[in-house]
Each structure stands twice: as structure tokens, then as C-alpha cells.
Amino acid sequence: MESGATRFGLRIWTVLVVLFLWLPLVLIGIYAFNSSNIQSWPIPGWTLHWFATAWHNPDVRSSLWLSVRVGLITTGIALVLGSMAAFAIHRFRFFGRESVSFLLILPIALPGIITGMALNSFFVFAGLGLSPWTIVIGHATFCVVVVYNNVLARLRRTSTSLLEASMDLGADGWQTFRFVVWPVLATALIAGGLLAFALSFDEVIVTTFTAGAQTTLPIFILDNLRQGQQFPIINAVALAVIVLTVIPVTIAQRLTRDTGVLRSTAATAAAAAESVEVTTV
């Protein structure tokens, strides 16, 4: 069935898909070192000038700082609310349990523009001035579910007899949490947290409705692209963002590997299943 020709064709196709995904990123990376401020191919020469310019640009700095702050606070809120919701849904049977689950998942299915509009009218109605906190609230609506899904999937896979076994072997509640619950959940929390941060960090639609005059990094990039200004600086910023995203993901992978949960094939498969679950929501 899988003849030599099919395999060859598949290989070509795979290469094409990878190129399709990566070529634009590589292009931005090259343009970031472009010595001319006009984007033309091939680039006339190489320079590190735009990184220095971007670093000293006050707009870039303030928008980056705002994005990082919003991302971190949102991640924190998502971790706390998402894992608490997951614990509650997993452990207790109560009236309205299904609706809670549905309400948590809804924001991520809802078009961002609807969420954004709704939040904006609510903030105006409630007389809340737009601030970093309104951005955080906007982002939290769809970041909580990411952590929730990850933790719930992990809890569902973790048999309750693990906790009983721990208690049975002499561990009290705190020891059980420290030696069993936390290591089993840690990777799910890290994965959920990273995903939440990444979602918040590059969010544009909801942010435009909840930020007002404030500029997060993606909005800064979008504004400048639209006005056709400062292309070289944007390229440098974009490259920095790519690098900054790769680093935490790599670290997280190392961390999760050291806890040993991901080393086993079964757990890796399960982790893959988790990320699938997240993306299909």
C-alpha cells in the first residue's frame, strides 16, 4: 500500500508544509538584520542597528512591558481559577455542574470580537475605566479554560486510588499533596500556564476592545504595520518575540521531563492527548 512513490510524495509534501509554516518566520528574521529600512529582496547588507533602536524606542518598551505584565497576571489568574474549577468539577457532583463546565469553555468558542464587544459595553456600563486590569479580565475569560482543560484531563487520568495509596502508606494530607498530587499535576499546570501566557501575549481582538488607548506589543506591531511605519523595528521586535517564546517552552519541556512523568511513553501519549483536547475546544 505504501509504495516507494507514495513515500516520496509524502516526504515532499511534509517538506512543503514545514516550509510554508517556517518561511515567513525566517523572512522576518532576515529582515530584522536588514541594513536598509526599505524591505527589498535580496537585502543590501546586514546590521544589528534595529535591535538597538527597538530597545531604546519608548513605545516598544512600554508596550512590551504592558504585554508581559498582562500576560503574567492573566496566567496567574488562569492557574488559580482554572485549577480550582477543575478540582471542583472533578471531585464533586453538584447541581449545575454541566453548565459550569459549559460556561468555562464557551469564551474560547465564542468569536473574540463578540467577547470584546460584550466586555467593552459592560465596562462602559459599569463605569470602569479601561486599564491594564480590563485587559487582564478580557484575557482571563479565555485563558482560564486552557488551564482548566489541562488540569481536568490530568485529574481524570489520575486514579483516586493513588491518593488513597499515599494515605494508606502513612502520608498525611500535606505529604500526599507534596509527593503525589503536585508532581502528577505539575506538568499539566506548567503546560496550561505556558499556553495561557502565549494566548494572552499575542491576543489582538479582545485587547482592542478592552485596552482603550493602551498599547500592548501585538497592538503596537499591528498599528505600525497598518500605517506602514518602522518596518525594521517591527521585524526586530518580532524576532525577539519568537526567541523569547522558544526559550520558556524549551525550559518547560526540560522541567517536565525531569519530573519523569513525560519520560514514559504512556504519559507522553497522554500529554499529547491533552494538548489535542485543548486545541479542539
Partner: protein
């Protein structure tokens, strides 16, 4: 099977015979409307291999969980070596459990799993290592300490779960259908292995199973559960040969019950002799069905005076063809009077 009145008594038993290791007094447990354990009174002696046998939902697992401390009884008392532990949490009871799904910690190595109980109790690292090695030796898996549970087969995981419990030298070991997930051959091997380990360490085992053969093979004594109550308690030989109720007769072995003059009797199928139609004594009937099972043949005989009995005959001389051709033949069934027992309808009113 010889009578199992008392096992080879390990030294500890003699000194502690006065106080049973486990004692349940009028224990009851309900979940809302559902009565899991109606009322159980039970005494398990030190060093005994004691089995809680029954179908699913009969309350045997709940009873085990009450001893482990995962459940609190609504009424009654749980005593361990004479001390009331009814309200103690699981970690403050000197018992350990082998779980049906093994419950090995997936993020720890086998060695860490086995050493977990010692670690949380603050046993120094070196002694811990020594005792872990000892426990792994006992279950005959000395070389897997560095592996993760997922890298082991089902049978190996079962042994590790056992080692993890034994390493703490608990007073009583609780086993919740520990062999349920294994295939038949492995299960039979582990039955022998478990019995060996139990005799080696001289520990009290409380064993839950729904498999009557397992219960008969391994136990010193067993309690047959039905609907949250103990129907009968005794040695395997007693329970098998003198079932007290219809339920026990049917659950352990084949239900062979006939009614004569308003009284109900049971007789085990292998105790019945099947003869030709000529004589006078015994019950007359017709062979309704023949099931050839290889080592033996099972005959279902319809009796002229009502009811039917299952008769088991070893295939000593008869071939399968002869056995199967006997369908429809008239026969006469006889058994020795001491092999038949009158039974009640059950412990329930």
C-alpha cells in the same frame, strides 16, 4: 481438600491469640439509600489468611475499605489488635492495602514507590534502601528498582504493589482483588506466590475476591458475603461441604438443591453416584443434558419426583462419545447420607 481448621501457626499467633488482629463489631455503612454493609461482625486472628468472598455489590470491598480507613462506618467499631481505630485516618492505621489497579505512583521509580511508606515516616535513607531491596527480593523482582511502573508487565506491577505494602511491616495486609486484572495462568501462579509470601512473613492477610476457587485455594478461613451481610463464615472445607444457605451453596460450586416434603437439601455434584436404572434405592431420573469438559463430564439429570441435579463424573474410562451418547438415558442417583445437608433459605428475614 484437607480440612483447613488452623494453618501452620506462626510464632506471633500463639502469643496474640487472645486478641484478634482485626475485629469488626456491628459495622454498618450506607451511601444515601444504598446499604453497602448492613451489619458485619467479624474476628480475624493474627497470622490468618482470611478471605471476604462474594459477588460484586455484596459489601466485601466496602468492609475492606472500612478496615483500611477509606470509609467511616455509620455504626459499629473497627478494632485493630484490640485498639479501637474506627475514627483514625488511613495514615494512622497499621494496615496497608494492595489495590485492585495497583495504584503505583507513575512519576516515581519502582524503588521510590516501594520506599514511599518508609520515606513519609522519616526512615533514614540507608535503612530505607536496605528494606526496599529486601522487599523486592521477597517478591522476586530484585532488578527493577530503577524502572518506572509503565515499563513493567501487569504481573510485575502486581508484585511491586505487594512489595510496597509489605515493606512497612504492617500488622495486617489488605488485598482488594489483587489478581483480578491478570490472566488465568498468571493468576494461578500468583495465588501460590501470595500464599508463600504470607507464610514467609507470617502476616495477617485480609483478601477480597469474587472468585470462589481463589478463595477456597488460599484461605485459612473465609466469609461469604451477600447483600451487605455475612452468609457463612468458616474454613474452605466447611463452607464448601456444608453450605449454610442456598446462596452459599449456589455461589460456591454448583447449586444442587432439591425439595422433598417441604425441606430443602443440597448435595455437591461430585458426591453423587450415577447408576443404571435397575436398582431400587436413590432418586430416579433422566439425563437431560451432557456437557463434556475434558477432565470431567457434567450431567444434568431431571428427577422423576421433581427438580434436577447436576452430577459430575471424572472421565476415567468413558470417552467423550460415550458420555455424549448417554443423553436421554434413564439413571438412578445415589449418595451417602452424610453428603447431603438441609439448608435454610438464607440469613435474611
Amino acid at each position: 481438600m484437607a480440612t483447613h481448621a488452623l494453618p501452620e501457626t506462626p510464632p506471633r499467633q500463639q502469643s496474640a491469640r487472645a486478641t484478634p488482629d482485626v475485629r469488626l463489631v456491628g459495622v454498618r455503612k450506607t451511601y444515601g439509600e444504598v446499604v453497602a454493609v448492613a451489619r458485619v461482625d467479624l474476628e480475624i486472628a493474627a497470622g490468618e489468611f482470611f478471605t471476604l468472598l462474594g459477588p460484586s455489590g455484596s459489601g466485601k470491598t466496602t468492609t475492606l475499605r472500612l478496615i483500611a480507613g477509606f470509609e467511616q462506618p455509620d455504626a459499629g467499631e473497627v478494632r485493630l489488635a484490640g485498639v479501637d481505630i474506627t475514627h483514625r485516618p488511613p495514615y494512622a492505621r497499621d494496615v496497608n492495602t494492595v489495590f485492585q489497579d495497583y495504584a503505583l505512583f507513575p512519576h516515581m521509580t519502582v524503588g521510590e514507590n516501594v520506599g514511599y511508606g518508609l520515606r513519609v515516616k522519616g526512615v533514614p535513607r540507608r535503612e530505607r534502601a536496605r528494606r526496599v531491596a529486601e522487599a523486592l527480593e521477597l517478591v522476586r523482582l530484585p532488578n527493577v528498582a530503577a524502572r518506572k511502573p509503565v515499563q513493567l508487565s501487569g504481573g510485575q506491577r502486581q508484585r511491586i504493589a505487594l512489595a510496597r505494602s509489605l515493606v512497612n511491616h504492617p500488622r495486617v495486609l489488605l488485598l482488594d482483588e489483587p489478581l483480578g486484572a491478570l490472566d488465568l495462568k498468571l493468576r494461578q501462579e500468583m495465588q501460590i506466590e501470595l500464599k508463600r509470601i504470607q507464610q514467609d512473613v507470617g502476616l495477617t492477610f485480609v483478601y477480597v475476591t469474587h472468585d470462589q476457587e481463589e478463595a477456597l485455594t488460599m484461605s485459612d478461613r473465609l466469609a461469604v458475603f451477600s447483600e451487605g451481610r455475612i452468609e457463612q463464615l468458616g474454613t474452605p472445607a466447611e463452607v464448601y461441604e456444608r453450605p449454610a444457605t442456598e446462596f452459599v451453596a449456589g455461589f460456591i460450586g454448583v447449586s444442587n438443591i432439591i425439595e422433598r416434603d417441604g425441606r430443602r437439601f443440597t448435595v455437591r455434584p461430585e458426591k453423587i453416584e450415577m447408576r443404571d436404572d435397575s436398582g431400587r434405592s436413590g432418586e430416579r431420573g433422566r439425563i437431560r443434558d451432557v456437557v463434556y469438559v475434558g477432565m470431567f463430564t457434567r450431567y444434568i439429570v431431571e428427577l422423576d419426583s421433581g427438580g434436577e441435579l447436576t452430577v459430575v463424573k471424572q472421565n476415567l474410562e468413558s470417552s467423550s462419545r460415550e458420555a455424549l451418547e448417554s443423553r436421554g438415558k434413564r439413571v438412578r442417583l445415589e449418595w451417602r447420607p452424610e453428603h447431603t445437608f438441609e439448608i435454610g433459605t438464607g440469613g435474611r428475614e
